[in-house]
Symmetry: D2
Subunit: 354 residues, 4 copies
């Protein structure tokens, strides 16, 4: 059995990635892919990788047929929320990859973005990270996307916060990210001679994804009956790669820890989460998580090291920003919302070397 | 139904790639993967991408169990031939990715390599390029691998030679190739500070793959009843990428040509060849073949331009050296040898951007 | 003693490069640097490398003070010619880096660009490649710039054409070039996710620099009393680097040659040319010219290999496109026009590794 | 007037870099460059960038002539100390780029390296960072080199510690470094297919340079009469570049700060230090320090951002690891030890773009 889906705002990198996985998914059928700017253009003109896999053309969202099972929205924030408002009462399932439904608190949204266009819908949305909200996702009609950087940090920290192993109020997250995270729009900052080989702290403070990190960690603290004092000093860096995020989390340990303490926390938290791989291959080149083995996949590779000389744990979390940081969990959510195996259509390894 | 296979000499990049595709293939079951140096080591220690997909360990080839359907050999040339000799009479199907059975003429082999260890077996081998030898591959017990660079040039030139559109005696092939082509062994030439960002003509004349190119084009000429005068001035260049080959072929045209003449030659030659994509997307960034849309796939993207000011055609041919240039056709051959659809286990698109 | 210079159209990469070298030149003093778009902006805002070396701001060309010794023009073609026309009769020396005065024949210019705005000035310009036109440059008021790709090919071929060692009518030049050659203007083709790691034959036929190559080689043939039948099948490729060009020339040899024949031709031609380095370091990683050792310098490294199996010579020519392919020879010309040592202000080695 | 120098252990990247700058220095004359492995080999065989600039050959250190003014030692740690011991009483000035004389406390040295071979010499060495120890360097006979990563962090933190603006006991330093830092020796970790495009936390805890950072910051605290409680949680990452370090320092602020507070601290500390450039070019792409504008130079570019939502300052410090992190300060020290202008032979800008 196949479910009809449409992808709205499909001409960007996230839309293209979603299309790729949807074409391969055994239980999805793409009804429409929309783009105002490229209406009438074959999708392979923008996605040369899909030559031979589809003859589809972009259509205008004005021609959107809502008689589908699920809508995936890849629209910019602020544009997406009114769209959700327009369609949610048709009963269609909506997976909105924009930032509009990630934050539960409209004031936080306003602090980092702008006044929320439809705050009344916020309570209906579930934050679309299956490893934290699997059961809620199964039951909801509206799932938010996740921030790619946010998710890499949340996945690294959540088990440690849950187990009380770190001080949540003094977390530092230093992320390194590839150029595709900026999307298909270009300017001088992505001009190859300027972007190639750089290490650029493009937003060392005040990055919007901080809000998602703190929200999700605070929910865990609250569930633990602890003060919701999560504070993440977050600084992302553009580095030389197209795809990928490595987030390095430096967190003060709550007490002297052993490796075993930490392993237990991760194993327990991620039991039943097939897309988390815990990595500590001592004695090999790949002893810690790296970006390259997860490129092209929905895996998050997570590893750590305890600092023998300082009261600190260093956690490393590696993902493909366009897949695990965006399209992948959206499809995990789709699978969960339709009672399919969470792995359906996503269970592929990466390449080595790449 | 599943066929048991083993991969001999599996610790290199080609072996790792073959393992990856074999794990995903719906009708292959991996019996053993061998390595002398890494016997006893889990394959994921060398192939971090396969974490979660296999628990296998390398075994010594001394423990090779030949009670399998097909042996894939990823051994160095000269080592591979005696191995084939040892096993061929057991009736096992052999796909030998080394250079030992690519050249039919032992003198040519000797010119480019060394005296052939078992020339008497050469007539039993079929050159493993399905697009040229599909029917012979279906019937043989022994298939050779192909040179990655050679195949990218052969696929670009064969239809033009077949159709008599170019002068086969004055072909120039200038290839650009990624670092993975050199394999997992390292030296100063692959040391990152020396290799990164370089453009290095590492073997501007006398490259061994020239022999494969000239052999295959000469066979086409001979089949046409023409003089077997194929001559390819071939110069490969190391450029900054890990995976991929772009071969640019500069060939004198036999007579004034139109685009349509050339299209007809390619379409006719590659009718029934699903892994060849002809590319000429005018008006887009991707108007010619490029490496990035084929990385991670078994596709060869081929395109061309006629030179309005000079009697020359320029053909561009893009492949992933480890897949389309090596492991991919080996699996195409496996499929053909077992009457499976040639696309089985190989029909996946690439990523964009990557 | 110092000469006052101004740089017109200085906000692009060539202008920035010229500024850098002018700041270091012991006998140049920068009077003004102009830009319409950035008038009033400190040059370090666009050239962060120059922080600490200059406080200058761009001024509008409307404020250009022509009471200087030399004007360097870094304007687009078609814009530059009228500018030259306006100023040449003031007696100021002009080094015009645009394409407007490179081609002597206005019909050739029209074929590759557009009708020439002031063909009457063409006879007054000298093609600004000192290694070919040193004496004429010393005496002229108007020097043209050179095409970066053109110069890399001309320098490789000129000695062989002069000595009659190759067939000039069947030269193939396959160049690999970095992204800075496209300048500071950006579009989707230079967007990092699309440009990074690619090998893109962006103009496989009909590239404008072909005209310069054929003009300069034909002049040599004419001087030899030979037919001016130079024909260069030229195809440039964008590869992954910011700076640099490696041109690979495949040329049919006129007769069987020895290495010594070729060395003699190069040594004789480039006697007295300090910026040409002939390379053949057998037994080292750097046996042929590569881009990395010339990045940041005005050197052209040239080497070759004779093909033992085909009647072909392969010549490799490596330069930094922004220096040796543009700003460097402009400064060599400045030096020559002022009776300074040609090396003044340019005699620095590159970095290793880089 | 020229001073004779020799470089011992000159075949590595630091030695090559030092040689390059020494060749350009107006008051240095290279007497000998030694290498056991490459004795008899022209230095240009390893340093193709120096073709045309030197005919020198490596000699064995057994042939070392100590009748020079200054010895630069580029030997591995543990090898260097006995060498210093052997030569120091000849009165020759020694600049030892190894780690052997960086740490004053032999126990700290032993914790991070091994028992010190000649602890009695430690009090005679000055840590070779001119911005912190200018006066002591002028008077000493023995200067140590500096850790490249260490220096990038120390330069970023010292003014803030000195001014009491941050809590020195909870500094996090997350560095990103290019592949040349590992030197000319290669293994699987620097094999291009494995190293290219990676982000690898190769030593997330316990890195040796931590000791230098804490020593130097503690000295400042002690001079302030404060507790010497500097603690740096340091984690370096290999990223895709050949040259360069960007260190991101995340430090808790001691009290609410304004930009002006921080500027004052930096300006005051680095008054008279020409190679420190303070960067905050708001409104441009280059608003913070980046690696590319310092590649090829002795500059350290330093900038910062105060976090409006968290009690944290983020400092970014960019250097060229082989120059500013190694050979450059060694030459600054040489200049200071000979009463030359500190900038002599080092005052060159970088390139843009590169």
């Amino acid at each position: 059995m196949s479910y009809k889906i449409s992808i709205v705002g499909a001409s960007g990198y996230t839309g293209g990635e979603l299309m790729r996985w949807a074409l391969l998914h055994p239980q999805m059928e793409i009804a429409q892919v929309t783009s105002e700017r490229f209406a009438g253009t074959p999708v392979t003109k923008l996605n040369p990788n899909l030559r031979g896999f589809t003859q589809a053309e972009f259509v205008s969202s004005k021609q959107l047929n809502t008689d589908v099972d699920t809508l995936f929205l890849c629209l910019p924030h602020k544009v997406s929320a009114p769209f959700v408002k327009q369609y949610i009462d048709t009963g269609v399932k909506i997976i909105d990859l924009s930032a509009d439904f990630r934050l539960h608190n409209p004031k936080t949204y306003e602090h980092y973005y702008q006044p929320h266009p439809c705050p009344e819908l916020l309570p209906r949305a579930v934050y679309g990270l299956p490893e934290l909200h699997r059961e809620a996702i199964k039951k909801t009609q509206l799932v938010s996307g996740i921030g790619c950087l946010a998710s890499s940090v949340i996945l690294a920290c959540a088990p440690l916060v849950k187990a009380g192993l770190i001080d949540p109020s003094r977390i530092i997250a230093d992320s390194k990210i590839g150029s595709s995270a900026g999307g298909a729009a270009f300017d001088i900052s992505t001009h190859h001679p300027e972007r190639q080989g750089t290490v650029r702290a493009y937003k060392p403070t005040g990055h919007r994804h901080t809000a998602e990190m703190e929200q999700e960690l605070n929910e865990i603290l609250a569930a633990n009956g602890q003060a919701a004092n999560a504070s993440v000093g977050f600084s992302p860096h553009a580095v030389e790669m197209v795809r990928g995020i490595l987030s390095t989390i430096h967190a003060p340990v709550s007490r002297p820890l052993t490796d075993l303490d930490v392993w237990k926390a991760y194993r327990s938290f991620y039991s039943g989460s097939p897309f988390i791989r815990l990595v500590k291959d001592k004695g090999t080149l790949f002893k810690y998580p790296e970006v390259k083995p997860v490129v092209g996949t929905n895996f998050a590779d997570i590893g750590f090291e305890l600092d023998a000389d300082h009261p600190r744990i260093v956690v490393m979390s590696a993902i493909d920003n366009l897949i695990r940081g965006s399209a992948g969990p959206a499809i995990q959510c789709f699978n969960l919302m339709h009672n399919l195996d969470e792995k359906t259509g996503l269970w592929v390894p990466g390449y080595h070397p790449i």
